[in-house]
Amino acid sequence: MGNWVVNHWFSVLFLAVWLGLNVFLFVDAFLKYEKADKYYYTRKILGSTLACARASALCLNFNSMLILLPVCRNLLSFVRGTCSFCSRTLRKQLDHNLTFHKLVAYMICLHTAIHIIAHLFNFDYYSRSRQATDGSLASILSSLSHDEKKGDSWLNPIQSPNMTVEYVTFTSIAGLTGVIMTIALILMVASATEFIRRSYFEVFWYTHHVFIFYILGLGIHGIGGIVRGQTEKSMNESHPCKCAESFEMWDDRDSHCRRPEFEGHPPEVVMHPSKVVELQMNKRGFSMEVGQYIFVNCPSISLLEWHPFTLTSAPEEDFFSIHIRAAGDWTENLIRAFEQQYLTIPRIEVDGPFGTASEDVFQYEVAVLVGAGIGVTPFASILKSIWYKFQCADHNLKTKKIYFYWICRETGAFSWFNDLLTSLEQEMEELGKVGFLNYRLFLTGWDSNIDKATDILTGLKQKTSFGRPMWDNEFSKIATSHPKSVVGVFLCGPQALAKSLRKCCHRYSSLDPRKVQFYFNKENF
């Protein structure tokens, strides 16, 4: 007995540590999902199998991380070499690398079995509570995203009572990768038995290389975020401790508790006058620059149509937004869908963001921004971003002066932009940067609404002119005020305007490269 201990104490210690870590991780994750308030409502549908599945998932992650290490031959040779001053016991442990690899593999198989069985039960519970019509808490929670305007705050991934669990499995990333990974695992294990290895080594060797699919699948398995807890904001408003029992009254206006919201980012809809809708959205992994645009698709209106919209939010904001004006049948249908209070927000798909010339605004010391009509939208993003930069006292801003020309027939459709400009003007005054932004508004449809002008343009009245701007005057003024600067001219508007602006840029750029240079940038759509 004494001999055995002397020879094996390190192995025993190592295995004890590994097993201990497994047990600790399992129990820790199990308790977290079993006890945390965040998952209270999720547990109402799923019970303890939620915690089982998540705990085994954590152990699977841990063991999958370990399993490749004992078979990295170069790494082991390296460690063996550098350990020459280490004790013999450590180096002898490296001799048992294959045994450890097999042990970890068995643990992975065990946890895979637990994980799959737990999730089978989870799917069945989700399916049952989605089909239940008894008004129980579980059934109300399951139908959450389908009665509300907020379309993405669901708890039950089974979106409709007719959806089968098989459909959900094979159309979700988690389900599909899960099946692929498990088949790869079974192939690997079945071809790695002692008999096969000894008799037909190539079968084992080549089959074992499907571990690549296992590792790849493991990497993307959890991306969909199917397991959801209540958001913090919703927990602060309606904590499950006080709200769970009164679930029948969640819809009442005067109840203290509102419907819980789950992770997932429902878009906010803001209605502006003149049939303009602002859509504020969130998407994981989305990052943008000023003036970029996205393509938007709404499957419930048209499966194949993707329409580009310039982003009107600044990169500093934690959502991204577009302003949609009714200008055709697709946009009209979309706005009508948002206006209806009792229907859900239709699902929106977003592609992008894609870059345009307007991204370069902050590369120039002086920027001249010309927005004609709907072309004013990229500049909304730019102006908002400037405001945020001043808020954070961003002194690295290369841009020192911005001239903004807004040309439109009438401002009715752009009253939201009006408000943005006025608020920006106020902020600049407060921050003492009055000279930074110099904007002017040109109303070219002044014949028809000259009387209504004063009503629409309160606040901007002083800077409003009627008719088209005289570009020669403007350019010569800018050239004289900034004799040594590089000026970027950005246009978002019609072709005719582009031609005249380009001509002015050429005319007023001096031949001397040290003096004022105008660079023309045009955004198309």
């Binding site: 079995a113 799959i116 069985i117 089978l120 039960f121 799917f123 069945d124 399916s127 669990v165 098989e166 499995t169 099946v179 498990t182 088949i183 079974i186 192939l187 294990v189 079945a190 071809s191 038995t193 008999f195 096969i196 008799s199 037909y200 190539e202 079968v203």
Partner: protein
């Protein structure tokens, strides 16, 4: 790769699939999932596949490790003759068995794995492999006393066995240990110094 007997691998894969079918079936039946009767089918199919695949076939070259206690099932599987010997039939059988389990999520893994095993069996059949039962080797009874040799009858130095061999050893044995018929290569004297 030329020496591989695909049937051996298919056998391992099919055995594993059988176990997975049983497990999936038990989960579906115990949990009374929707359409759980597919789960019940899956348990039966899994047990059948396990019993069929448990006895390992004999390898063409080399010795085959038997699975523990497989001789009872070998006798049963042998009874079916060509039905179990031919791998085409096994391939088709496994494919058909796997289909009903594909309708239930809990057993769909079993379907996939059994279908893979069926494919490998098809490959084995195409390559002309067959299932041959592992026959128990007849036990050679050791002759009583056959390994016991007579102790050497002469003191050393002794010439090698061929020189010692007599035309009739029985006579020498019947006579008992005798000091007799031996030509010593050098004269042996019994000197006491």
């Amino acid at each position: 790769m030329g020496q591989i007997e695909w049937a051996m691998w298919a056998n391992e894969q099919a055995l594993a699939s059988g176990l997975i079918l049983i497990t999936g079936g038990i989960v579906a039946t115990a949990g009374r999932f929707t359409q759980w009767y597919f789960g019940a089918y899956s348990i039966v199919a899994g047990v059948f596949v396990c019993l069929l695949e448990y006895p390992r076939g004999k390898r063409k070259k080399g010795s085959t490790m038997e699975r523990c206690g497989q001789k009872y099932m070998t006798a049963v599987v042998k009874l079916f003759g060509p039905l179990t010997r031919n791998y085409y039939i096994r391939a088709v059988l496994h494919l058909l068995l796997s289909v009903p389990a594909g309708f239930l999520l809990a057993t769909i893994l079993g379907t996939a794995c059994l279908a893979i095993a069926s494919g490998i069996y098809l490959l084995a059949a195409v390559r002309g492999e067959q299932w041959t039962p592992i026959e128990p080797k007849p036990q050679e009874r050791p002759q009583v006393g056959g390994t016991i040799k007579q102790p050497p009858s002469n003191p050393p130095p002794r010439p090698p066995a061929e020189a010692r061999k007599k035309p009739s050893e029985e006579e020498a044995a019947a006579e008992g240990p005798s000091a007799g018929p031996q030509d010593n290569p050098i004269p042996v004297t019994d000197d006491v110094v």
